[in-house]
């Protein structure tokens, strides 16, 4: 049985640990980038969640030896945001919503352990705290509507294009084990991201058309 506290999320399931090793890479990068360029996004919930993830001690070598390694490397390379605007768009808006999609599905996955579902719920809550702060800051720092759309397009095109290479390994590894399939993740992710974009004043059909093109490598 899982123990209480930070270790309660520990599972010996190798596929679950692989998922957390994967998420830890992106969560750690996000927190680091927030600390450097957008301190308002390093929320208490996010910092606590990243501490919990790192405390799991998931073996990154398993991730490095999996079919996820290369597409994850390519995605990370496109996520090395170097200034506040890039961090707000890449981490605060796009990757946080991608994380929320993953956590939301994982939370509702019956075939996952209770500890995994609990940790996913914590990840979701932490991420929501960041996107709320990010949206407010984006409106101040970049603006809303058309000016924001142009910035969003520039920062999201290659990043979203790099997601497609994850489709097959995600389906093979997590789809078979948890029913966590790429198409499901993308469906949740795109729905949430579009909602966030329209809340920031972007035209829905423009945001959709851009995401469709980026996701299909156009």
């Amino acid at each position: 049985m899982p123990r209480a506290g930070a270790d309660s999320a520990r599972s010996d399931d190798p596929t679950e640990l692989l998922l957390w090793a994967l998420m830890a890479k992106f969560e750690r990068l996000a927190l680091e980038r927030y600390g450097l360029h957008a301190p308002g996004l390093a929320t208490v919930d996010k910092r606590r969640f990243v501490e919990r993830l790192l405390a799991l001690g998931a073996d990154e070598s398993a991730l490095g030896g999996s079919a996820l390694a290369e597409p994850v490397k390519a995605l990370l390379a496109r996520a090395q945001s170097a200034d506040e605007v890039a961090v707000l768009m890449v981490q605060g808006l796009i990757l946080e919503h991608l994380g929320q999609a993953i956590y939301r599905i994982a939370t509702a996955t019956d075939s996952a352990s209770a500890s995994m579902r609990e940790l996913a719920a914590a990840g979701l809550a932490a991420s929501v705290s960041v996107t709320a702060a990010a949206s407010a800051r984006i409106a101040v720092r970049v603006g809303t509507g058309e000016p924001l759309y142009a910035v969003f397009v520039d920062h999201s095109h290659e990043l979203i294009g790099a997601l497609d290479a994850l489709a097959e390994p995600v389906d093979q590894i997590f789809g078979e084990r948890f029913g966590l399939r790429f198409a499901d993740i993308m469906g949740e992710f795109v729905a949430e991201l579009i909602t966030a974009c329209t809340a920031l004043g972007m035209q829905r059909r423009k945001a959709v058309a851009h995401l469709a093109g980026a996701a299909m490598g156009l």
Partner: protein
């Protein structure tokens, strides 16, 4: 068109690293003995640009030798504010015609559209004037008219009430730029280009019907809900096969008078509708138990729709909106070319099926899905047309 080795001077083709530009470059190599100049930008390379051109000619059974490849001159395309740096080399090569096929196909990225469709066109018009070219051919789009319920003339368009995308607006603006340049010009407006009518080969990115097929491959091939909601109208969708595009473009370049505008599109009578295209796809490749057709995305009941289905509907929504209205292209110019001997195949459901078959055959993911679908003994879906009223409750075709 017959090979023409009598003309002197080189032909400059822009957009050679893109799909339609590479087809035009292939025609230039095959139909003339001229030097073919291809300005290319990094990260494109000469080998990378030549590969699809050679492949296209090889698919036609034409051998491309070293002497042919030696006729292709690739030049680095400088920044637009330094475009005139190309002039000495272009003069040395004796460029006589510019076939401007480069452009930006983003639907709404205004910055890129300004740069790729307007600024770039202006830059090559500047070069054309400096070189005193004999012909400037501009590759536009049949949809540059914007939304209209009137016949769409082979003439420059005034601004319509609305445009499907910023792409169509910038293409229309670029047409005016070309027409007002003072250069002897021809404007060619293809409709939606799809694979070759004979073997289905397609070298383009997933635009048009390929966007729908690709979205289906990526987001629907893991399985279907029992009932799939599809936005698909009953208006003809105008496709032109890439082989028809090639011969039509070349005929326009070679034979039309200065100032001509040509719609390069298929005659309407045999064109498929979106509904017939989806029936073809889902009946052939497998699908849900029932398919409900809606005219507009707004009519689709979203409650209970899985997120990936909703995403698929969203991702295909702009193209579906374009396909939901009738585009009545005047085809007088193309008819005249046909009477003069141009041979091309109009698109029909049967010829689109050739392209679809090729697409499916080249997709391991779809092959796997089809195998599973057939092994499960699934039957063809039942297709139901739902009106706006029906979307509120009762399917129009329901028993």
């Amino acid at each position: 068109m017959s090979r023409n080795g009598t003309q002197s001077g080189a032909i400059l083709v822009t957009g050679g690293s893109g799909f339609l530009g590479s087809l035009v470059a292939a025609s230039a190599l095959a139909e003339t003995d001229a030097i073919v100049v291809l300005p290319i930008r990094e990260p494109h390379t000469r080998d990378g640009v030549l590969a699809p051109i050679v492949a296209e000619l090889a698919a036609e059974g034409r051998r491309v030798g070293a002497d042919d490849l030696a006729r292709v001159v690739t030049l680095p395309l400088p920044a637009l504010d330094r475009i005139e740096d190309l002039l000495p080399k272009l003069r040395e090569l004796g460029v006589r015609d510019i076939l401007h096929c480069a452009g930006c196909l983003s639907y709404f990225n205004v910055g890129r559209l300004q740069s790729g469709n307007l600024d770039l066109t202006q830059a090559f018009l500047t070069l054309g004037k400096a070189l005193a070219v004999r012909r400037f051919v501009y590759l536009s789009t049949a949809y540059s008219a914007g939304f209209t319920d009137q016949p769409i003339p082979e003439a420059l368009h005034q601004n319509p009430g609305s445009d499907p995308t910023d792409y169509t607006r910038t293409k229309r603006d670029a047409e005016w730029m070309v027409a007002e340049s003072g250069l002897p010009y021809v404007i060619v407006r293809p409709s939606i280009v799809i694979g070759d009518s004979r073997d289905g080969r397609y070298g383009g990115k997933p635009y048009g019907i390929y966007q729908l097929w690709t979205a289906g491959e990526r987001y629907l091939s893991a399985g279907f809900p029992p009932v799939l909601h599809v936005v698909a109208g009953d208006k003809p969708v105008n496709f032109i096969h890439q082989d028809a595009f090639r011969v039509g473009f070349w005929a326009a370049y070679q034979t039309l008078p200065d100032g001509a505008v040509l719609h390069l599109a298929s005659h309407e009578h045999e064109l498929p509708t979106m509904r017939s295209l989806w029936e073809l796809w889902l009946s052939t490749n497998g699908g849900p138990r029932e398919v409900h057709f809606f005219d507009r995305l707004e009519d689709v009941p979203t409650d209970g729709i899985a997120p990936q289905i909703r995403m698929w509907l969203d991702f295909t929504s702009v193209n579906n909106a374009i396909a939901s209205v009738r585009w009545n292209f005047v085809l007088d110019g193309l008819d005249a070319l046909r009477r003069a001997g141009l041979e091309m195949t109009d698109a029909s459901l049967a010829t689109v099926a050739v392209a679809q078959h090729r697409f499916v055959a080249e997709s391991p993911k779809l092959q796997l899905f089809i195998d599973r679908y057939r092994a499960a003994g699934a039957v063809k879906p039942r297709f139901v047309v739902r009106s706006v009223a029906a979307a509120r409750g009762v399917p129009a075709g329901a028993p």
